[in-house]
Symmetry: C2
Subunit: 146 residues, 2 copies
């Protein structure tokens, strides 16, 4: 099993797996536990490894090449449990487009010395606008701008 | 300052204040801290007491008499930090209507022996459908049904 020494490493691995459509990498991030919870944007509550794995499999099958820009806005931490709130901005490099940022609450639990995701709750800001994409404003170098 | 012996008491007080449009009761639930975070459905991230208080004030000014049905679906806990995921079903008794359930992630931190809310992240399931309400199906006794 993958070992993540701190929650930031887990979060990095989460978004890398998401970008790459890497189902095994994604599931290595999550705690192998029946009580993990995932809420995709505007989605219902998914519980447990099988349901969450199936959801990522469906997402990755439909996914265009994409890149995430993550900004960590908030951290609450206890010894064994950490909560991050981040903005997720999805960029489609081939289309030279970026989505409006989403907000996500990510929680990580320490299990046998390794931090694993136990909760991912993502939501759009402003609703239907999240379906819209805006072109890069000034060329490729802007793609990494926050 | 209000003292909440456990996170369930804090959560009960949160939804009671929400139902009653009780701004002081609502703010007594929250940690008196600059790092508290609130995401209303489809809203952006609010940070700190002043911004969060202002948001509840605006909500309560526009709010019709309403009642919450809360179902707690998930709990993650550490010594000083607890995360609940709940469904929030808003019922408008005078209109005999109920909204589609929302999902919320609520986090509580223990501060000097009292549990206070530090994060509220609520989101609709299915997007615009949350603007729709459905009538009670069989009369007043169904109002408490989950």
């Amino acid at each position: 099993m993958a070992v993540f020494a701190h929650p930031e490493a887990t979060e990095t691995a989460f978004y890398r797996a998401f970008e790459q459509g890497d189902l095994e990498g994604m599931m290595a991030v999550w705690a192998p536990s029946s009580d993990i919870r995932c809420i995709h944007p505007l989605g219902g509550l998914l519980t447990g490894v099988a349901a969450i794995r199936a959801s990522w499999n469906a997402i990755f099958r439909a996914q265009l090449p994409q890149r995430f820009e993550i900004e960590r806005l908030s951290v609450f931490h206890a010894d064994e449990l950490v909560i991050h709130t981040v903005t997720e901005t999805i960029v489609l490099p081939l289309q030279r487009q970026r989505f409006a940022p989403l907000l996500a609450t990510n929680a990580y639990r320490r299990i046998d010395g390794s931090w694993h995701m136990v909760l991912h709750h993502a939501s759009p800001v402003g609703g239907v606008e999240t379906a819209e994409v805006v072109p890069f404003e000034g060329g490729e170098t802007n793609a990494t701008r926050h």
